[in-house]
Structures are given as structure tokens and as C-alpha cells.
């Protein structure tokens, strides 16, 4: 059987030739993403702004405007209605009711009654009510968790490699997370708890490629002590290129299937991780590696205290 080789043997792509262009472009895109997110804001779900969300599946496609009119007729405040998953599934969002529990209860009951009375065969799939206090805590926890995860991983990389690599990892993560946020701001996809989980996953997984490439750079730095840094980075990137492509593809196959035919409720999560893997593959080459050039990584960056030097691995 002839085996598939997506990346030919002994490639010699001069990745670093475009590094300045790539870094400038990535920085601009990162800033643009953040600015856009700040300017336009994210479409935050009830998890983060509080309020009520009721998901309904109707027996047949319905007239959204009519449903909107009927829900607005209940005078429960600014209701928004969005298609969700398919032409028969909708999510109805209501603002935080002012009268506390009792009012929230009443609002949900009213909408449920309206739906079941006006649309025979309709099924109320879920009701979520989140108070302002809880939503603030969830938003706070989410932001804290993402920040901590980024720092924690950067510190680990610093311990395992050298400080330059830790900085590189942190910048790579900042890039990946900003781009993902920008994507959500741009597409207006709803950001709920699952998306925060996805971003945390990206923090863990987009660095996968970076770790593999850094590992190879370290190995090559020891092996070819006389080689200049740019050709050395190119060499390491080329050596790991086949692996980068194959792994990214396997993850994308699995997530692509999940996005295409998986449950609607976790579409946001699936698309965020899918995107994160794509961005992470790019940034592992064009953010993680160039950073090492600026921070002047040399074979001597690895001091004698390094455990493997002690173990007697022969530097060439």
C-alpha cells in the first residue's frame, strides 16, 4: 500500500523569510480583533449578562415575525428571538425581570404558555434564568480562568525550556485568544459558558504545536551549535512540518464532524476550538518562533544546570 505523505520528505521552506511581514500582519490583526471586540462588543449570552433564555422547537417552521409580535405582546421587555440550529428551533431571550424570582418565574411561564397554546406540538427544550449577581460572577470567573491558564502554561514552558520560550508561549496565547474573541465579535455568535470552556481548551491545545516546535528548536540548538538562528528555526519548522499538518488535520476532522452534525447546543464550543486549532497552527510557526529571534535565543541559553546536560547528552 502506498502511504499518504501530505508533506514531501526533506522540505526546505524558508518560513522565516516572511517572518517580519507575518508578525506585522498578525500584530495588526490582533489589535484589530481586540479593538473590534471592544468597539462592537461580544454577543454575550444570559450566562454573562443575566436574563432568561427559553429554547423552543416547533412542530413545523413558523413565522418569526409573528412569534416576535406575540412575545412582545406579553410586555416582558426587550425580547429577542433567534433561530437556533434549524428552521424549527428558536431561542427567545428576555431581559432580567425586575421583580426578582417571582417575576422571572412568571415571565418564563407566560412564554411557555404562549408557545404551547399558539403553536400545537411545540416543545420547550430548556429554560435558563441567570440573575445579575451570578452572571457577574460567571463573567469574572471566566476572565480569571483564561488569564490564569495563560499564565500557568507560560510559566510551565519557562520552567521546561527557558524564559524566552515562556514569553513566546504567552504572546502566542494572547494572539490566539484575541483572534478567537475577534471572530466571535465579528460573527455575533453567542458567547456562553461553553465558549469560555472552548477558549480555555484553545489555551491548552493551540500551544500543542508550539510545544512540539519548541522542543525541536531546543534539540537542534544543542545539536547544531554553530548554526545561525534563522536557518536553525527554518530547519526545526521543516522537520516538524509533516507532524504539524497531520495532527492539525486529525483534530480538524474530529471537530469538523462535531460542528457539522453534532448537537446544536455545543456548536459555539466546536467552532471556537476548530478555529483555535487553525489559528494555533499558524501562530506556532509565525509567532512562537520569530519571538525567539528577538529575544536572542542561542545554544548558550541553555545553561549547564539543565538536567539533560547533567545526564551527559553530548552537545555536538
Amino acid at each position: 500500500m502506498k502511504l499518504l505523505k501530505l508533506v514531501p520528505e526533506n522540505t526546505n521552506v524558508d518560513f522565516m523569510r516572511w517572518r517580519n511581514l507575518a508578525v506585522v500582519l498578525s500584530s495588526l490583526l490582533t489589535i484589530a480583533s481586540l479593538a473590534f471586540t471592544a468597539y462592537r462588543g461580544l454577543n454575550l449570552g444570559v450566562d454573562f449578562v443575566g436574563g432568561q433564555m427559553i429554547r423552543v422547537t416547533f412542530a413545523q417552521p413558523i413565522d418569526v415575525e409573528q412569534l416576535r409580535g406575540r412575545v412582545l405582546g406579553l410586555h416582558l421587555g426587550e425580547a429577542s428571538i433567534q433561530e437556533f440550529g434549524g428552521p424549527k428551533s428558536y431561542q427567545i431571550r428576555l431581559p432580567k425581570p425586575e421583580g426578582g424570582d417571582a417575576a422571572a418565574n412568571a415571565a418564563a411561564t407566560q412564554v411557555k404558555q404562549l408557545v404551547t397554546a399558539s403553536y400545537p406540538g411545540a416543545r420547550v427544550d430548556s429554560v435558563e434564568t441567570v440573575s445579575g449577581k451570578v452572571s457577574e460572577e460567571l463573567a469574572d470567573d471566566g476572565a480569571k480562568a483564561i488569564g490564569l491558564a495563560m499564565l500557568g502554561i507560560a510559566v510551565y514552558i519557562w520552567f521546561r525550556f527557558e524564559w524566552q520560550f515562556g514569553v513566546g508561549a504567552l504572546l502566542t496565547l494572547a494572539h490566539d485568544v484575541s483572534m478567537t474573541l475577534g471572530f466571535f465579535a465579528f460573527t455575533r455568535l453567542q458567547v456562553d459558558l461553553n465558549v469560555v470552556a472552548a477558549i480555555l481548551t484553545i489555551v491548552g491545545y493551540s500551544l500543542n504545536d508550539t510545544v512540539v516546535i519548541y522542543d525541536r528548536i531546543r534539540e537542534d540548538l544543542r545539536k547544531y551549535r554553530k548554526m545561525a538562528i534563522l536557518p536553525l528555526l527554518n530547519l526545526s519548522l521543516n522537520e516538524t512540518l509533516a507532524r504539524t499538518v497531520v495532527t492539525s488535520l486529525t483534530v480538524l476532522i474530529a471537530l469538523g464532524v462535531l460542528m457539522a452534525i453534532g448537537p446544536e447546543v455545543i456548536f459555539g464550543l466546536a467552532i471556537a476550538i476548530f478555529l483555535g486549532v487553525l489559528i494555533g497552527t499558524y501562530s506556532s510557526i509565525y509567532i512562537s518562533a520569530p519571538v525567539l529571534v528577538w529575544l536572542k535565543v542561542t545554544p548558550d541559553s541553555f545553561l549547564k544546570t539543565d538536567e539533560e546536560e547533567k545526564a551527559g547528552t553530548q552537545p555536538a
Partner: protein, 530 residues
């Protein structure tokens, strides 16, 4: 490489066999096969999260104001009872304004005695040397009891643990359902009830404090004053539950709901729903005595500071049984009976988060999740096969073993599978083969460099392991932080990721290495097709 000792083969095989064995109960759950599964084999199953099984998740928070109010009220009762004892100390102008309890001692010579007796009532707080109430005297005759911060914290803690038990009894009087009721933080209770069709009903049950009190109606009060909300000394004005004005009642509690042993819904002579209650021995005696002394006078039945009804005492009620009437429906009478039987909530609980998922959505999600998992896995496997041939097959076997192991570990720890958890499962499948990709690419590289077959395989596994290890640690860091900060479904996702990281390193590195070693030992291949 070739040194893969027999005992290691046995251990790895044993782990794999156990993994398959422990994952079966979860896989056959709900099918007819489940009943044919021998009873001596493991039965641990993965539980489904509410987002998959359907049900309600409620987060309740103690109302701090109400906690203070109830604590002051209880203290007021305690103080009155104590000072009424011999030698009796007459007090008046009781007030609970400003979060403190204060009253006048009528005879100035008794102030010191009152303070002495009340200090004895306060409880010392462990370790701190402080007490739960400060007793002070102002203006010579006014005694003020101030709750100390330490006392308030302890009172809340005690109240929450009682509240947790009360909530559990209310939702599940029979104690048979698989519900979760746990305290979270200092002032919250998390309630998870699978398969609830009507969360409103659930919230009504929990939302009621159900503090039941019987008090005499103050007949001397001036009706005009009562409508203004003013009551004579020793009395208080309470609203009627049906909204028909207000009524003045004596502050002193005749009997309270704490002294009930039973409460059930019934019907009165006219066929209207009411609640039958039975007092315990002490309560029955007290109720009998008070009704005997007050025949012909009305008494008020008060629930959560609202008067349900104020019937006349026609004759002494001696048997310890009574009916509570009011404008009830069968449902509301039944709810109240459950609430009364489970005891009063020591603090009012507000619902601050609610998530309810219908059972159909959960079924849809499982169905779609399973199909996506299967297709995703098959897709990855085909890709691995055409890329790496024999080594791809080994990676694929490892992948399947990994899927079993994840299920098995989840089952053994009785972990909860949530909808994002399914995504975590699929992600793990995609990412788990990364270890094999790393190894296989490295082997290819080493062969290109001209290494001999066995040497290449050995170097491949050794050199790739460093990167595999570091990459997986980063996954664990992010998953652990997610598990710590996340709630419910997100935590379920993190748990699957963490389990997947550990099992995938085992299957992708050790297990495939064993397969490769056994193959090389058996066939002694001359060339590697990879």
C-alpha cells in the same frame, strides 16, 4: 525496544481488559442487554448530566436580611421565655429595629439581673473567646442585644446546613430520588433534580419559608390604628394572606410549627382543601392549655408573617390535632403540607440561577453526540491508516482502547457526562493520535537519516516522548483550571479532557509501543513501511 518484558505485556493487557470490562455497563445502559449483564461483574456506570438527562439545576442563595430577621425573632422568643421564668422580669417596648434586639426593663433594679441571665443565654464561639451576642445596657433601663460578626457567621452556617436538609426533604419527601442538594460557599445551596417537568412547582416548594405560628388575636386593638399599621404594646400588625386588610395579634407565640410531627392535605366539612396537622407531645399539651384558657376568642394561624385565617376557639383542642383552613387549592394545600412536614427554612432562599432542560433535547443531544463521535473517530482512523499503514493500525487500536479507558475511568469514579463532555471526548480522540503522529513522524525521520530499523523505532519513541509529555501537561493545566472555575457542564468537559490526557498517553505511547515491540519480535522485519 525489543525489551518489552512479559510482565509488562501482562500488566498492559490487564489494564486494557479491565477498561473494556468497566466501560460495558455504561455502554449497554438502557438496552435489553443491561438485564443480561452478570451480577458479579462491575456495575459502575457513568451518570448523565442534567443537560443530557433532562432536569433542573437551581442555585439558591440565602437572603441575608431574612436570616438576620429570623435570628432576631428567634432571639426575641428566647428572651421573652427566659425572662418570664421565675423570678419574672417585666419587659416592654421590644424592638428589632436596626438589626438589634432591644427592650425596656420595667423595674430599674432588675436591669443587672436581666443582663446576667441573658449573658448566660449567649453561646461562646469556639476558639475566639467571643460570644454570639453582645448584651449591653443603654440609658440605664434599656437592654440591647447585638449580634456579633462571629455569631452571625456561625448562625448562617448552621442555618445553611438545616436549610439543606429541609430543601432535600421538601423536594424528595420519600428520600428515593437521585437528587443533589449541596451547600456551596457560605450562603448558597445547589439543587439538581433530574427529569423535572415543572420547575415552577419545584421553586414554589423551596421558596416557602413555612414558618407556622399560632398567636392570639388582640381584640383590644383599635381597628383604625391597626389599619394604620399601629399595634398596642405587646402586639403586632400582620397582613391577611388573601390581601383583605390586616389584623393585630399578640406578639407571643402560642405554638409554632416546630412542634409538628405530621402535616397532610385533607378536606374540611364543606369539601374545601385544608391541611391536617398533628402536634408532638409538648406542642399538643401547650396547644390544649392555651385553647382551654381562651375559649371563645379568635386565634390567628400565621404562615411566614401572613395570617392565613383567624378562627374562633369553639372548644379546647386537646388531642393535638388541628386543621389549617384558608383559601387553598388542592395543590397549594398539598405544597404547604409538604413544606410544614419538612420543617421551616431557617432562612429564606432566593433562586439566583436556574437551568432546566427538557428530556427530549437531552435525547437529541446524546443521539447527535454519539453519531458525531463515531463518524469523527472513523474519519480520524481512516486518515491515520492511509498515512501510516501498519503503524496507523496500531494507533487506531490504541484510539479504540483509549475510548474504552476513558469510559471506564469515568464509570469507576462515577463521573458525570455532560454535553460539552461529549465534545471533550471527540476532541480527545482527535488530539490523542497526536502522540502517535509525533512518534511515527520521528521514526520516518530517523529512517531517512539512515538509522537501522530497530534503532529508528526506539529513537522515535524516546525523542518524541519529551514533546508528548510537555504538550499534555499544558492540556492538564488548562483543564484543571477549567475544572476549578467551571460549573456543571463545563466541569464535565474538563473532567473528560483530564481523563483523556492520562489514558491517551498510556494508549498512544505504552500500548502502541508494546504492539510494535511484539510485532518486531515476532516477524523480525527487514524494512519499515511507514
Amino acid at each position: 525496544m525489543l525489551e518489552f518484558p512479559r510482565w509488562k505485556v501482562w500488566i498492559v493487557s490487564l489494564v486494557v481488559a479491565l477498561g473494556v470490562l468497566f466501560s460495558i455497563p455504561s455502554l449497554i445502559a438502557g438496552t435489553t442487554l443491561a438485564s443480561r449483564w452478570p451480577s458479579w461483574l462491575p456495575h459502575e456506570k457513568i451518570s448523565l448530566g442534567l443537560d443530557l438527562a433532562g432536569g433542573s439545576h437551581l442555585l439558591l442563595e440565602a437572603d441575608a436580611n431574612d436570616a438576620l430577621k429570623q435570628r432576631l425573632q428567634a432571639k426575641e422568643d428566647e428572651v421573652s421565655t427566659e425572662l418570664r421564668r421565675d423570678p419574672r422580669i417585666e419587659i416592654g417596648d421590644i424592638s428589632t429595629a436596626g438589626g438589634r434586639l432591644s427592650f425596656l426593663v420595667r423595674d430599674p433594679t432588675q436591669v443587672d439581673a436581666a443582663v446576667e441571665r441573658l449573658r448566660k443565654l449567649s453561646q461562646p464561639l469556639a476558639l475566639t473567646g467571643n460570644r454570639d451576642w453582645d448584651v449591653q445596657v443603654v440609658d440605664q433601663t434599656r437592654v440591647v442585644l447585638i449580634p456579633t460578626p462571629g455569631g452571625t457567621v456561625k448562625a448562617l452556617k448552621d442555618a445553611m446546613s438545616v436549610a439543606r436538609d429541609v430543601v432535600r426533604r421538601r423536594i424528595d419527601p420519600g428520600g428515593t430520588k437521585e437528587i443533589t442538594v449541596i451547600t456551596e460557599g457560605a450562603d448558597r445551596i445547589l439543587v439538581q433534580v433530574p427529569g423535572v417537568e415543572n420547575p415552577e412547582q419545584l421553586k414554589k416548594l423551596i421558596g416557602q419559608t413555612a414558618r407556622l405560628e399560632f398567636k392570639l388575636v388582640d381584640m383590644e386593638a383599635n381597628p383604625a390604628d391597626v389599619q394604620q399599621g399601629r399595634a398596642p404594646p405587646g402586639s403586632q400588625v400582620l397582613p391577611m394572606a388573601d390581601g383583605s386588610g390586616a389584623i393585630a395579634v399578640k406578639r407571643r407565640v402560642m405554638v409554632s410549627g416546630d412542634q409538628l410531627t405530621k402535616a397532610s392535605q385533607g378536606f374540611d366539612q364543606d369539601g374545601r382543601p385544608d391541611i391536617n396537622i398533628v402536634f408532638d407531645t409538648a406542642g399538643a399539651r401547650r396547644f390544649g392549655r392555651v385553647t382551654q384558657e381562651n375559649v371563645g376568642k379568635p386565634f390567628a394561624i400565621i404562615l411566614d408573617d401572613k395570617v392565613l385565617s383567624a378562627p374562633n376557639i369553639n372548644e379546647p383542642i386537646l388531642g393535638g390535632q388541628a386543621q389549617i383552613t384558608g383559601s387553598f387549592t388542592v395543590q397549594s394545600a398539598n405544597d404547604l403540607a409538604v413544606a410544614l412536614a419538612s420543617g421551616k427554612l431557617p432562612v429564606k432562599l432566593n433562586v439566583i440561577e436556574e437551568r432546566t432542560v427538557g428530556p427530549d433535547l437531552g435525547k437529541d443531544s446524546i443521539h447527535k453526540g454519539v453519531i458525531a463521535s463515531v463518524i469523527g473517530t472513523v474519519g480520524v482512523m481512516i486518515f491515520m491508516l492511509i498515512t501510516y499503514g501498519r503503524f496507523g493500525v496500531y494507533a487506531n487500536i490504541a484510539l479504540i482502547v483509549n475510548a474504552f479507558l476513558i469510559l471506564a475511568v469515568m464509570a469507576i469514579f462515577n463521573a458525570t457526562l455532560t454535553l460539552p463532555g461529549i465534545a471533550g471526548f471527540i476532541l480527545t480522540i482527535g488530539a490523542a493520535v497526536d502522540a502517535n503522529v509525533l512518534i511515527n513522524e520521528r521514526i520516518r525521520e530517523e529512517i531517512r537519516r539512515g538509522r537501522r530499523l530497530i534503532d529508528a523505532v526506539e529513537t522515535g519513541y524516546r525523542e518524541a516522548f519529551r514533546a508528548i509529555f510537555d504538550a499534555n501537561v499544558t492540556h492538564v493545566i488548562s483543564a484543571a483550571i477549567m475544572a476549578y472555575f467551571g460549573s456543571g457542564p463545563v466541569r464535565g468537559f474538563a473532567v473528560v479532557l483530564m481523563i483523556g490526557v492520562v489514558t491517551s498517553v498510556f494508549t498512544a505511547v505504552y500500548f502502541t509501543r508494546m504492539l510494535v515491540a511484539l510485532w518486531i519480535r515476532r516477524t523480525r522485519p527487514r524494512a519499515l513501511h511507514i
